[in-house]
């Protein structure tokens, strides 16, 4: 599903964020991406959603080399990827319904279809009664769930999340991760960047660890958790 082949990223300032990173995430797989602050987690996710381009190497999604994607085609690529951010990236002056329906409006769905789908997805994330609320009136966890609802509403085959549990307490974090597990169970590939080691430790998922831009471990949580190095 996602394949990195010898990818390096050097920012214009000379900051080398990724060095020779290679890995593959299979369709329908769920994995965590971890590492210290500044290790390059966000950079790696941005290369997948083409918010940045690799300096060296190739990023492939479903066998398509993203280097060959023209900037005009980027919007269509993003419609295949559900993205979730720590800062939610919600429109604060629009209702939950409007926020969640955004990807469908962009793709030109009919009103009936939109109400139907938004209703279903809000039900899935447990926000049915908040449909008309403004995001500012919601808690952090609820806002994050709005972001997740928006990311999955057009049923993308791939979900990327950058620190989705950022400021949430362990219980709420777990709820969010459970949501991701649900979607994963439905066949969606999920890649979650987080430095919440405690959270990862409680599950058995493949974990990719970055350190100063290099991939230092790639394996199941248990194997990795024995090494105190990170």
């Amino acid at each position: 599903m996602i394949r990195f082949e010898g990818v390096s990223k050097t920012y214009p300032g000379g900051q080398q964020a990724l060095r020779q990173v290679s890995f593959h995430i299979a369709p329908g797989e769920m994995a965590f991406l971890t590492g210290h602050s500044g290790a390059g987690k966000s950079t790696l996710l941005k290369l997948i959603s083409i918010m940045e381009r690799p300096t060296v190497g190739k990023v492939l999604i479903n066998g398509h080399d993203l280097n060959h994607i023209h900037s005009r085609q980027i919007p269509y690529i993003r419609r295949d990827i559900g993205m979730i951010f720590q800062s939610h990236q919600l429109l604060m002056d629009r209702s939950v319904f409007d926020n969640v329906s955004l990807p469908l409006i962009i793709e030109g769905y009919s009103h009936r279809e939109i109400s139907k789908r938004v209703g279903a997805v809000l039900d899935r994330v447990g926000l049915t009664d908040k449909s008309r609320s403004l995001p500012v009136t919601l808690s952090g966890g609820e806002q994050q769930r709005v972001g997740i609802a928006r990311a999955v509403i057009n049923k993308p085959p791939l979900l990327l999340a950058d620190e989705p549990t950022g400021n949430l307490d362990p219980k709420l974090s777990m709820e969010i991760i459970r949501l991701f597990e649900d979607f994963n169970q439905a066949g969606v590939a999920v890649l979650i960047a987080t430095h919440d080691l405690g959270l990862i430790a409680r599950m058995r998922y493949r974990t990719l660890t970055l350190k100063k831009g290099q991939m230092i471990t790639d394996g199941l949580t248990e194997d990795w958790y024995d090494e105190p190095a990170v």
Binding site: K46, H64, G108
Partner: protein
């Protein structure tokens, strides 16, 4: 259609609707967006009114000048006697020859009408008007020549055409001298030409200003909505989708500015109609000031809408592309 995943349909293709329905939905969504942009203007009435006022007044100046100019042309077109040609005939020309000449000339396509002033008649008139009366009786023979006044037809009233006609008339055997007082006409035409050019230049500059003002207003709108645009780009909106509401805002600015200009132009002309009436009375012309109506009104509104769209297109192209999620 998905670029990355074969068989994964995106958007409305999935819901199988007929092309007629899709076309209908296309129009409905456009109308909805147009109304949304209008609503946006309505939400900040102060700022919107100010912009519309600037646009309206900028368009008022050239459109008022245009109307005055158009009316001046209409009036001057009414002064056909302006290029009347006076032909003085040779002293010894016989009445029969004169009759022949007038019939000949009246057949010329360039000639609208002819008037013969008999030399005896002219002398009488001169006697009465000059007051020399009796003194003139002592003259052995009438010193005045026969005169023919030639009015060219409407296609030949311009100074150059009338000049050519004069040359042709002077070649006639009976004609001693022809005169055409075209200097003042040439001056008038020259002035009107200069005024026309001036109006075009002023209009051009103001129209550019209008487009720039709209462009800048849209630019500020775009910068104000930076966060929203970022979110839209993150969830896969194309630039075309994002720029549409801004284009509609430009459209409304153009249309509303044009309507305001129409109103202020009407107001200005109404205000000036008294003084214009007094001037035209001096020229004894039956003169009705035509304002902006029909085609020219549509033309002006079309132009201001065009300027609105052009201004916002410039802005939208540059500034929406510059906003990219990082």
């Amino acid at each position: 259609m998905s670029l990355l995943f074969k068989g994964r349909d995106q958007g409305a293709q999935r819901t199988r609707i007929s092309s007629v329905q899709r076309l209908l939905m296309f129009f409905i969504s456009h109308i909805r967006q147009a109304l949304a942009s209008l609503g946006e203007l309505w939400r900040s009435p102060g700022a919107s009114m100010m912009t519309i006022a600037v646009l309206g007044l900028s368009i008022t100046l050239p459109s008022t000048l245009y109307i005055l100019l158009k009316n001046t042309e209409k009036v001057s077109a009414g002064w056909e006697q302006a290029s009347e040609i006076t032909l003085f005939l040779h002293q010894n020309t016989q009445p029969g020859d004169i009759r022949q000449l007038t019939t000949r000339l009246s057949l010329w396509p360039e000639v609208e009408s002819l008037k013969h002033i008999d030399k005896a008649e002219a002398l009488n008139e001169f006697k009465q008007l000059s007051g020399f009366g009796d003194a003139l009786n002592y003259l052995e023979e009438n010193p005045l020549p026969d005169v023919i006044l030639v009015t060219p037809d409407s296609k030949n009233t311009s100074p150059t055409a009338a000049g050519k006609l004069l040359e042709k008339l002077q070649k006639e055997r009976e004609v001693e001298l022809g005169q055409l007082d075209i200097q003042w006409l040439e001056r008038l035409h020259g002035l009107v030409d200069i005024a026309k050019e001036l109006v075009s230049v002023v209009a051009m500059l103001l129209f550019i200003a209008v487009a720039l003002i709209i462009g800048n207003t849209i630019r500020l709108n775009i910068l104000n909505k930076r966060d929203e645009i970022l979110v839209l780009k993150l969830v896969g909106a194309t630039d075309a989708f994002i720029q549409r509401p801004f284009m509609y805002t430009g459209f409304w600015y153009g249309l509303l500015g044009g309507l305001l200009a129409w109103f202020t132009t009407w107001l200005l002309l109404w205000w000036m109609s008294d003084s214009i009436g007094r001037v035209t009375q001096l020229y004894q012309t039956q003169f009705e000031l035509t304002g902006l109506q029909g085609e020219s009104l549509l033309g002006m509104l079309g132009l201001s809408v065009f300027l609105g769209l052009a201004g916002s297109l410039l802005s939208v192209h540059k500034h929406i592309r510059a906003i990219e999620p990082k």
